[in-house]
Structure formats: C-alpha cells, structure tokens
Amino acid sequence: MLRFIGRRLLESIPVMFIIVTGTFFMQRFVPGGPFTAEKAVTPEVERNLLAYYHLNDPLWKQYTDYLWDLTPKRFHPGALASGLDLKAAFGIDFRPSFKYPNRTVNEIIADKLPVSLELGGWSLGVALLIGLPLGVLAAVKRNSWIDYLCSSFALTGICVPTFVLGPILVLVFAIHFGWFNASGWYGPIDRVLPSLTLGSVYAAYIARLTRGGLLEVLSQDFIRTARAKGASEARVIFRHALRGGLLPVVSFLGPAIAGILTGSFVIETIFQIPGLGREFVNSAFNRDYTLVLGTVILYAGFIIALNLVVDVVQVWLNPKLRFE
C-alpha cells in the first residue's frame, strides 16, 4: 500500500512539471502582456515594473527561477491552520500578482481558496446525500414508480446544466418567493442555492451509478447466499451489496471533484461568491499571469492528489484490484 502511494506520488512529479512548463511558456508566447492594456507608463516606471517581476532576465532564468520557487522545500502542514500560508507550510512561492502589485498570489489564494473549498464541500455533500439514497432506493425498488422518478431526476440533472439551473433557481426561490438572497456569501442561508446548483448534476450521476452498480452486485451468488442464510434485506443491502455496488461511484468521485472545482467558476460568477474560481476567471481576463499560473498549478495539484486518494479508496473497497 505504502509502495503504491509512494510510486503514484513519484509519478505525479513529472506530470506537475509538464503542467508548470506548459502553462509558463504558453503565457510567454502570446501576443500582448499584462501591461499592454494599461495607460502608457513612463520608461522609468516600466523599467521598475520589469525589474520587479524579473521580466528582464533571460527566459530560461525566469523559468528555472520560477520552477525553484514552486518546489516544495519544507513540510510544516501545521502552518496551514493559521491562514493557509503555502509559503510557511511548504516553501511554495507563487510570487506577487501582476494586477495587484502589493499582494502576492499566495495571499490571494489564502484569502479566496477557503470560500471555494467550502462551496465544493457543500456541493459534494449535496451530491452524495441526494445521489446515494436515490440510487439505492431505485435499485431496491427496481421498476417501481420510485425507480422511474429517480431515473427521470437523474436525467434532468444530467441534461440541465448548472448555468441554466442556477439562474432558474434564483429566479424562482430568490426573486419570486424571496426565500433566499439572489447573490452573496454571508450567512449560512447563502450556501443553499449555490451548493444545490453545483451538487445536483453530480447527485444525478451518482444516483445513476449507484443504481447500476448495486443492481449488478445484487444479481450475484454471494447475495443469494446471504439471503439464504436469513440475513435481513437491510443487512443484505448495506452489509453485503453496497460495498461492491459503490465501486463505480468511488471511481466517479475523481472526475466529480475535478468537475466541481471547475464548475465553481460558473457558480461563483452567477452567485457572486468571492472565491478562487471567480478570481481565476477574472485573472485570466486581466492577463494576471502569476495569478493564473498559481491557480492552475494549485488546481492541478489538487486534482492529482484527489485522484490518488480515490484510487487508494477504490483498492481498499475492492481487494480484487491489486496495487499494480
């Protein structure tokens, strides 16, 4: 197990390296820079700006310096508790922002990431809390009206994208009924509509996958054996069938979490939530290179780490999969 995790961690190093290299050179070879849109600056100011961002160095030096700044140099996860400081915790420095020269990308991430993580957490919770029970119900009461209801819910969730569902929920529940605020991120009540919107798509997928996985397991011999031994229906479902039936759901969690992360771009725009997703979209429009790079690398690291976790859980649930 440890060897498996270790090998996967080692494998993720070249992947991260390719991502960093790709995005770094992509942004360097495009027409127009972060300062072109600004009003004309005096040569002296421009010199200072270039020096401040090390843009006068030869390209290879900028690249290697940047790589070095991103390399983790220490491991004090405790420092994350007080304000999510990636520099104090791992020695990762994303440099100052191009758009807000007096703020570092690390500070912006520390400021905005918790909001996005909270949104993502609630959404994942919604997805699991709605999707799993619906899927189990549909599989147990196969071909009943509950099953059809669940299936049509699942299809609706898959076919109505978040950027249609979100505004419609706002229109109905915030504007028409006035139960919620149309936008903002202040009280607990502001968490409801965004997480419902973002979570429902994944709830739909999870319901479908749970139903399919459970049905497949329920037709197997060991389930018949369990029933023959007099196990109650609840015990058969929850003790015997669910563990195998959840495998498709677990392997879906990796893509789901990646989707929730990118989906938050749209949700944070619709509901005007001050999270990292909205910041990323804005920074892309502003050509705030360091912030774009920092966010991409952070998200890529997240997704790779979460995929690793998902793989480990999958093997843990299904001993048949050897750690190849």
């Binding site: 299809l155 109505v160 950027f163 249609v164 229109l171 504007i175 990118t262 749209v266 725009t269 619709i270």
Partner: protein, 297 residues
Amino acid sequence: MIPTLPPAEPAALEIEAGESLWSGAWHRLRRNRLAVFGGVVVVALGLLCAFGPLFSQSYQDQNLDLGAVAPNAAHWLGTDTLGRDLFARTLYGGRISLMVGLVATFVALVIGVTYGAVAGYAGGKLDAAMMRVVDIMYALPFTIFVILLMVFFGQNILLLFVAIGASEWLTMARIVRGQVLSIKKMEYIEAARSLGLSRRRIIFRHVIPNVLGPIIVYTTLTIPSVMLLEAFLSFLGLGVQAPMSSWGSLIKDGADKMEEFWWLLVFPGSFFSLTLFSLNFLGDGLRDALDVRAAKD
C-alpha cells in the same frame, strides 16, 4: 435418393442477412421509444436551426423603440432588450452550438480513434506507454486548459473547435483501443496479414470498420458533452463572441436580465436542455441497440 440440400441454403442466407448487426440494431433502436423521440427531436432541431434563420426574422436587426417585449404573436419568444427577435436569435445560436458540437466532436473522433487504434494494434510497450499518457491526461483539469487557450490566444472559433476536441478524445481512445485489442486476435485479421497487407491498410480497412458500433455510440454521447463545454465557456464570456451568439451566450444574457425579462433565460435554456436530453436518449438507445458495453464509466 439423397435429399438435396440446396433449396434450404438461400433461405438460411436470407435469415442471416435479415439478422445482420446493423439491421438488427436498427430494429432494436426503433422499438426504443425514448431513443426514437430523441432522434426525431435532434433531427428536427438540427433542420430548424440550419434552415430556420433563412425564413425567420433577422437575428441582429435591432428595434430600440420596441425594447424587450414578452412573447406575443409577432415575436413568438419575445424580444431582447435591443428589440431583437428571440426566436431568430435562439435558432441562430443553435446553429453555432450544434456546429461546435459536431465539429469539435469530429476533431475528438479523429484524434481518439487514430490514437486508440494505433495503441491497440501496436500492443506491447508502445501500447502501455500510450495508454499511460492517456491515464495521466485523464487526471488533468482540461477545462482549465481550454480556458487558458481561449484567454491567451484570443476567442477564435476555430481554436475553440480544436481546444474542445483536443480535450474530449481520451475516452474515445480508450474504448477504441479495447475493441481493437480484441479484434486483432480474430482470424480475418490474421488472413489480411498473411495476404501481406500493410499495417495502415489493416487498421483503416479492417479494424476500424469493425469497431464502428462503439465509435458511433460514443460519438453520439460526446456531442452533448462538447456542447456543454462550449456553452460553459460562452457563459463565462470565453467562447463565441458577439455579434455571433450561441446558446451559452444567450443563456448568459438571459441570466443577467432574468429579473425583469424571464423569457430571455427560459427559452434558450429550454432549447439547450432539450437538445442535451435528446442526444443523451439517442446515445443510450444506440448503446442498447448495438449492445455496446464498453462505452461510459
């Protein structure tokens, strides 16, 4: 007096012809009412969007005196704040959305099928290396890269096709590779090889036609996800640019103004969802009809 067999043979042949993979699949598909519904809706919407704008009112003629009016007899779906007919705009937006869906899926199809077929046919170390690349790319946040491409290289519709297509070929490659792996052990491939056909010819003439079923199914299911990605980008303002409009950008406009003018959000949104719905039904129906197990998951 040995009874002669020949009369039985034509009949047997006929049965075989009647039960070929494609006609059997066609019969099964026609029995699936939801899939037929999906297919009919997709074709109808496609025709409507392709030819509708020729007959409808102009999608860009402004009428500032009129402004935004609710659906009425003159403007079936109402008008937007600039007085432009929403029905015409929705059809025109559908044109762009469907076109992006088709072209980007085609890009994904070409990359995925070629890659998967080569990996599966080559086998061995090359196959392992190529599939490892796919595994790694699966873990990457592709949507983010498409966003970066659109931001850094300008919002060009050709780039949009390529960027979306390049991010959706992975599953296709996996499916094709798996199919090719099993097909290449068949006798007719052995025969083709012993006849001295080149590898390229074997792959394109003999292997790919026989993995057509899964390819068709997965292509049908890729179109909606491609359209979703396009609409996602357009919603963020990174996709199709004004004065062009796609369903995504119409939904964005509608969402901005929905407090006063609900129809601007509801109609483009419904058209879009209906299309996704139908394509998914059609794809699921095709999968059952062609009995493809490998697609999805």
